[in-house]
Symmetry: C2
Subunit: 420 residues, 2 copies
């Protein structure tokens, strides 16, 4: 058990997302490439001799593996930076990977966001295209997404950077094995073969394509930020038209039996049982989703409802009104804070997280609601002091899901560097 908990504390998305990578004797060399690469990622630059100690592999084997990783462009060898020390500096092996990147693409209700990061976290591409996803239909959104990805590929090619994988984040229940969006009421999708549809739209060579739930990917990105702390239980709430949760339990992403865990937006919490886009009624997202706060805060026709404007600027307007003391805006924020606290209290009763992170649109109105949310949590959770649960605002906001997507895309190289 000791080994397991140590492993989970390193930022390994494999530990979070479950088993992957090659098995069996034939792939031992490829597996060992991954072992060396992960040591360098998780524990920092080190000498080949140190790698041999860390991995238990013979020194000549380490030399061969490092040479192969260098030829793959994943690591480089360079002098140690030992300030003030005398004598010839030793040679250290560093993660390189400036020539590769992972691409994360979020298809949300109102935009397609493309983000590319290198293994060392450098952002090498970003673009966000506004689109009313539910209105234009899945085919048109896949067309747009493919165009955005081609633009990203072109920019990367100019910079000599090779994308090694691509993960799409979608707000709904996903069949991860086939890359199909089973059901996404917030965008009106039903059985959309996203991975297949994109592969057909992209020129060869198409990088590996994975599709996953937006809240789960956002949770991977948020959890990476607390790596190294003692936080092992975390709930990340995405806030857009739909509400979802990415749940980290004891250091692992909770997927559930068929990958559908975290659909918290449809918890039946509304005492007024108002209808939801999912066809049911009384869902939590009817109370705390983006549409809820906008309708509470202003009548149709008001410019905060104008979907052709950037969501951030509309939320900025909302904040300005609240700060100016507008009674209706303040009441809307209080109502949402109250109902958000109620649902979070429920999740704290069920999951007992150490931290709840509020992401998505909540990030943009967070300062105006978070105190009230915390108060509701304290009074409503069964365990004393909300079971030690702390409410934080995301620092990633709407970028979290795409960012988590890049992490998952890059994980493939850490699991099987030779296969990239």
């Amino acid at each position: 058990m000791k080994e397991e908990s140590t492993r989970a504390r390193t930022p390994s998305y494999a530990a979070l997302t479950g088993p992957s990578g090659p098995r069996g004797r034939a792939s031992i060399r490829r597996t060992n490439l991954g072992v060396v690469l992960r040591i360098l990622r998780d524990a920092g630059p080190r000498s080949r001799a140190q790698i041999a100690v860390d991995t238990g592999l013979p020194k000549p084997t380490v030399t061969t593996l490092v040479a192969e990783l260098v030829s793959l462009g994943l690591v480089r060898e360079g002098p140690a930076q030992r300030e003030g020390s005398v004598g010839r500096p030793g040679t250290l092996v560093h993660i390189d990977g400036g020539h590769i990147c992972g691409i994360g693409v979020e298809i949300s209700t109102s935009y397609v966001h493309v983000l590319a990061l290198t293994p060392s976290g450098d952002q090498v591409f970003e673009h966000r295209a506004a689109v009313a996803v539910a209105d234009v239909g899945a085919e048109a959104v896949l067309d747009l997404t493919a165009r955005e990805i081609r633009a990203c590929h072109a920019a990367l090619a100019r910079d000599g950077i090779r994308p090694i994988g691509l993960t799409l984040a979608v707000p709904g229940v996903i069949d991860v094995a086939t890359g199909t969006v089973t059901y996404a009421p917030a965008i009106g999708w039903h059985d959309v073969a996203v991975a297949e549809g994109l592969r057909a739209r992209l020129p060869e060579p198409v990088p590996r394509i994975a599709v996953d739930n937006d809240a789960k990917l956002a949770a991977l990105a948020e959890y990476a930020l607390v790596q190294g702390t003692d936080i092992r239980d975390m709930v990340c709430i995405t806030g857009e038209r739909g509400i979802g949760a990415g749940i980290i339990s004891d250091g692992r992403l909770l997927r559930g039996a068929t990958g559908f865990a975290g659909e918290v937006g449809h918890m039946p919490l509304d005492p007024r049982r108002r209808p939801c886009v999912c066809g049911r009624s009384g869902c939590w997202e009817v109370m705390v989703g983006l549409d809820a706060i906008l309708s509470l805060a202003a009548d149709t026709g008001d410019r905060i409802h104008d979907t052709s404007a950037e969501l951030e600027s509309r939320l900025g307007e909302l904040s300005r009104r609240a700060e100016a003391g507008d009674a209706r805006t303040r009441e809307a924020l209080d109502r949402v804070a109250e109902d958000l606290g109620l649902g979070l209290a429920l999740l704290a009763d069920v999951l007992n997280p150490r931290v709840v992170v509020l992401g998505g649109y909540f990030t943009h109105i967070g300062d105006l609601i978070v105190e009230r949310v915390r108060e509701v949590l304290r009074t409503r959770v069964m365990a004393p002091d909300a079971g030690g649960c702390e409410v934080r605002l995301s620092t990633l906001g709407f970028a979290a899901a795409a960012r988590g997507g890049t992490f998952l895309a890059l994980e493939a190289v850490h699991q099987d560097p030779g296969g990239v």
Copy 2:
């Protein structure tokens, strides 16, 4: 990851409940005793040569370890039962442990239940004492519990069986580290030092005492029944005055950051926001707890409310009335089935379990409600087909928590046989 998933599939309660057992060089021998014992438990009787292969330990070491386990009364050596084979049969090492047992004690709202099982699962003691726990107060309940445990010890001593540990199950939030019941509104307890209180009431030598949440222990017992299947995500609902859940996620018991996970009885689901014993309002257990169904089914004064009678017989009366077509009873059952399905749908949205097990009082009225519960689940869960979630009735019923307690008590011997 492969090793981890294999380990979790074996009925190891350590894997379910987190790290335990000795660490460091000095305890390698003790650790190895546990390794050998767990191999025998999980994989069945085998030769010393086979144990050496399975564990990677040298044969002479295995011989020494087996001899020590024999002297501790935990294993025995005997001839292999090879029917029809010729020649001298080999000697196999078997789990013995008929001379030791684990004790599980459940303190529920209406009884104290003591159960003792040997490592091979033989029941060597059972007794249940009816008591209105909330009415008589914690001190009197601990007095009664200590008397019940002494009676158990006396019976075991007559049979030459040694209890190696004792686990108490209590319906509330528990500080597992100190064995204190932090908060248990269903029985009116607040900061009751149960482990300490019992140690003071029992004659030396007192076995190891642990205290844990009743629903979590019940889940361990229920999960043991599905070991070897592909079920890794399970929610076990306890039904008494209070409602709790033991959650198994990806083969592990979900405890949360401070051990308070699974307090599902206090999810705010009641649109009528009726008051709960916890001091809040609108809690799920107000809708589906034992008191709810009894008040819906009959006025005060009716014999199903008579707490001096066995709960099983009162629930039996309820079932007879429903089967005889009594309208009020049937409506009460439908109401509870509906509200139970609603809460389970919520848990399925959050956790996506493969199986929900209905335990406690639900076991006794299960046949009358389970079809309706399944129907609500199918229509209410966000994922198609309730995310593959199946609703089953517990076969352990009110005995589940005490049974889980015996498993946890016995786990100590599997982790550290020399320490027993």
